[in-house]
């Protein structure tokens, strides 16, 4: 069957035609043959019966008149039929009246069927015929005919005819098949030839000659040509797209690559590898473990580990490490890629190496710059705070000085001299004291005078004590200011649960002197029930002081009567506390609203553009946020600092919510 499958289609068609013709002929011949054999048998039998009837009829008179000679003549006519083996006429008493051919001996007559019937027996037909005269049986005819020879002759004849028919039919079939097969095979062969050309030469411009047929082959040809059209255009598009891809890949400032993890070899490396690392693509492709050779030994292990994790996670990955270029330069590489996994096994890595050496260097510089800025800012902040502290202390010292002056003046103007004069008089009158006090007009007045002096001294004492109390209070105040400053000067980083109101108060307190200097009116709208916030005290103070300073700065241009700073503390949601610092100063341009928190953005002459940037970052670090609102130039501005509520409080709140 396989060998038949591999035959040329023309041969196949011929074979099939012959097989079909042969099968049809076989069936037809078999049917005809069966019919003819059956026909022959029934004809032969009928003929035999007819023959017997004729002989019987011809024998009636002979039998009736017992004329044996005539009887023998009658059946002797059977000699004309070579198939007749034998026949005999038997009288009703069983005696043989006349006989022809082979005598029926012994019980041979018993083989014969009942009168009027015929049977087949061993290739012979046995027929019994009654001889009747005037409806009376006057004898019987037994006829034995051998049909084999005739049958064999007939079979031979039929075989010859059948053979002849088969031979002629097959010749006609082959002739017609040869004449007609080009109708089918020609387009098929053309298709096959075109397909071979396309397959072997990748020549998609080849086309099958169009025959104009509309049958399946015609449509197949048409479809095949259409397919070629599409393939050709797709091939062209593919080439174009490949060129585009190549151009793109080559224009990327990085090395595009594909790596096969099975043999640790690169299968594709874009030509940029020559420029960036000095290795042409040929050196990568086909060299096992090339990557391991050029990666920096200090980074190899770390990257290999990250790579293994990326493979396991089957996710896009990226990491940075150093490579050693062909000229021994160290090149920082940012590698990003994807792993392709088939049945749990990584089959390919694809990605890109980007040279980030410059970025790495500039990042280092930037970090350094940032650190410097932070330091500057911190120093600036500390200076500001120190100014405030000194101012506050100065104010209090002023009060202390006033009190001291008052005490001095009191002491200078003390009534204690009056007492000294009275005691001097009493000393001079020693010995005559009683007389003096009772008789001398001056002496009479002296007790009254001493009482007055005593009262005056008591008043003085009370005044001094009060003044000294005030001084002590001022000194306490100074202690407080210093203690507060020490509090904020501590190293930051620790989170504490603090009431927002007190933080705001502290910030205002630190700026109190500045407000006084600039005639700023401060309006407090503070929700005293605002919950504690979990924050870094230092950072919040820094943010608030920065906001207050900015507000103060924004209001510089205002006339002193109109400078107004609003500080509001409110609770917008259960887990947030909002501090709003609003001024009625110059306002903010809408364009600047979006970049106001950017690093380096400032509108101040001497600003460094770091305050709001670091403030927003700090708020974010604490889980809060810093936002700005302004309707425009001259409309003032609001800075909104949101801080997270302390955890304990939040938990209670959420429990309440659930309940």
């Amino acid at each position: 069957m396989n060998s038949f499958r591999n035959l040329p289609i023309q041969q196949k068609m011929l074979d099939m035609t012959l097989i079909i013709c042969g099968a049809v002929l076989l069936v037809a011949t078999a049917a005809l043959f069966t019919f003819q054999v059956e026909n022959f048998r029934s004809n032969f039998q009928r003929n035999t019966v007819t023959l017997a009837a004729i002989i019987a009829n011809n024998s009636t008179a002979a039998m009736a008149f017992e004329d044996a000679k005539a009887g023998n003549e009658a059946i002797g006519s059977l000699i004309a039929n070579p198939d007749v083996v034998g026949a005999c006429l038997v009288a009703p008493d069983g005696s043989v009246f006349a006989q022809f051919g082979k005598p029926e001996q012994g019980g041979a007559l018993a083989e014969f069927p009942a009168a009027g019937e015929s049977i087949f027996a061993g290739g012979q037909i046995l027929c019994t015929q009654t001889i009747e005269l005037n409806r009376k049986k006057i004898g019987s005819l037994y006829l034995r005919v051998d049909c084999r020879q005739t049958f064999e002759e007939l079979i031979g004849f039929y075989a010859m005819i059948t053979l002849g028919v088969v031979v002629v039919s097959l010749c006609v079939a082959i002739f017609l098949s040869n004449r007609l097969r080009w109708i089918i095979t020609e387009p098929v062969l053309q298709l096959a030839e075109t397909a071979r050309m396309v397959g072997e030469k990748n020549d998609y411009s080849a086309r099958v000659p169009v025959s104009g047929r509309t049958d399946e082959l015609g449509r197949l040809t048409e479809s095949f040509n259409q397919m070629l059209d599409r393939i050709q255009s797709q091939d062209a598009a593919l080439n174009l797209s490949q060129q585009k891809m190549e151009t793109l890949v080559n224009s990327i400032d990085g090395i595009v690559w594909e790596w096969n993890p099975r043999n640790s070899m690169f299968t594709f490396v874009s030509p940029q590898s020559r420029r960036i690392l000095g290795y042409p693509p040929e050196r990568w492709i086909g060299a096992p473990d090339f990557w391991d050779k050029i990666v920096h030994p200090d980074d190899r292990e770390r990257v290999a580990k990250a790579c293994a994790e990326a493979t396991a996670g089957q996710e896009p990955y990226s990491y940075e490490y150093r490579m050693i270029a062909a000229d021994q330069r160290l090149v920082w590489i940012h590698e990003s890629g994807v792993v392709q996994v088939d049945h749990g096994q990584p089959v390919s890595f694809r990605g890109i190496f980007i040279d980030i050496t410059e970025r790495k260097e500039s990042t280092d510089k930037l970090d350094k710059l940032n650190r410097q800025l932070i330091e500057t800012s911190r120093l600036a902040g500390m200076a500001e705070v120190a100014t405030g502290v000194l101012h506050n202390v100065g104010n209090v010292l002023n009060s202390v000085s006033v009190s001291a002056t008052l005490v001095g003046e009191h002491l200078q103007r003390s009534k204690i001299g009056n007492l000294r004069r009275a005691t001097t008089i009493l000393w001079q009158k020693n010995g005559q004291l009683a007389e003096f006090l009772t008789t001398d007009p001056k002496g009479k007045l002296l007790p009254e005078y001493l009482k007055t002096v005593a009262d005056q001294l008591a008043d003085e004492q009370a005044q001094l004590v009060a003044e000294m109390g005030s001084v002590r209070q001022h000194i306490e105040h100074i202690k407080e200011i210093v203690a507060m400053q020490q509090n904020y000067a501590k190293v930051s980083g620790a989170f504490e649960d603090l009431p927002a109101a007190s933080l705001v108060e502290d910030a205002l307190q630190m700026n109190a002197a500045a407000f006084e200097r600039h005639n700023v009116r401060v309006i407090r709208e503070i929700d005293q029930n605002a919950p504690a916030v979990r924050v870094d005290r230092h950072k919040v103070l820094q943010i608030l002081i920065n906001l207050i300073r900015n507000a103060k700065y924004a209001m510089d241009a205002q006339s002193p009567q109109e400078k107004q700073l609003l500080i509001r503390v409110e609770v917008p949601t259960i887990d947030r506390v909002r501090v709003i610092v609003r001024d009625n100063g110059v306002g903010i341009l809408p364009d600047n609203l979006v970049k106001i928190f950017n690093h380096g953005f400032t509108t101040k002459k001497n600003g460094h553009g770091f305050g709001l940037h670091s403030g927003a970052n700090a708020a974010k670090e604490m889980g809060g946020s810093l936002a700005v609102q302004s309707s425009g130039v001259g409309q003032g501005a609001s800075f909104i600092l949101e801080l997270p509520v302390a955890a304990a409080r939040k938990e209670t709140a959420s429990t309440e919510k659930v309940l």
Binding site: A61, F65, P92, S95, K136, I138
Partner: protein, 180 residues
């Protein structure tokens, strides 16, 4: 049907025995059977029977050589629809009512007159008078080697309007009328 067949069987058996073993007496027995058989191989014109079941009349002219044999043979026999009847006659009787006419040897002298009487009528004339067929009779019976043979004058039969079966003709010797 069975009794008829048995009768036929019996008859046939009887004939053979008679024909082979008892020549003197058997001769007329055979001839009687012949007479009976003639009725079966001869066709009369349909007009010769008054009805479809009218009998076939076998006439015996002159001295009856058969005795009772003839009666025994035809007794109960029917050919076609016609029963067989024996009628014994004398030469001067009207012979025209017969279908078969056996002319005994005793009437040898009267033969020409009898033949003239029946001439043109469908009557099958049979006789064992020598040269009967040559003299214008239709069937002549003669004994050859102790066997009864037939001579048939076919022309006479045709002239009489009778049709004799070819089967019978094949058994007989065909003769012609002798011209006087």
């Amino acid at each position: 049907m069975l009794p008829l067949a048995l009768t036929g069987l019996w008859l046939a058996g009887t004939w053979r025995v008679v024909a082979e073993n008892e020549n003197s007496v058997g001769e007329y027995q055979v001839k009687a059977a012949f007479l009976y058989n003639f009725t079966q191989f001869t066709d009369w014109p349909a007009t010769n029977f008054s009805t479809a079941s009218a009998p076939i009349v076998i006439g015996i002219v002159g001295e009856d050589p058969f005795g009772s044999i003839m009666d025994d043979v035809v007794s109960g026999e029917v050919v076609g629809n016609h029963p067989l009847v024996i009628r014994r006659l004398r030469a001067r009787d009207n012979l025209l009512g017969c279908h078969v006419l056996f002319i005994s040897r005793s009437e040898q002298a009267q033969l020409p007159a009898i033949l003239i009487q029946v001439k043109g009528h469908p009557i099958l004339t049979v006789s064992d008078i020598s040269d009967f067929a040559q003299q214008g009779g239709i069937v002549g019976l003669l004994l050859v080697n102790k066997k009864v043979k037939m001579e048939i004058n076919q022309a006479a039969a045709i002239e009489a309007g009778l049709q004799i079966s070819s089967k019978l003709l094949r058994l007989a010797t065909i003769v012609k009328s002798r011209r006087n």
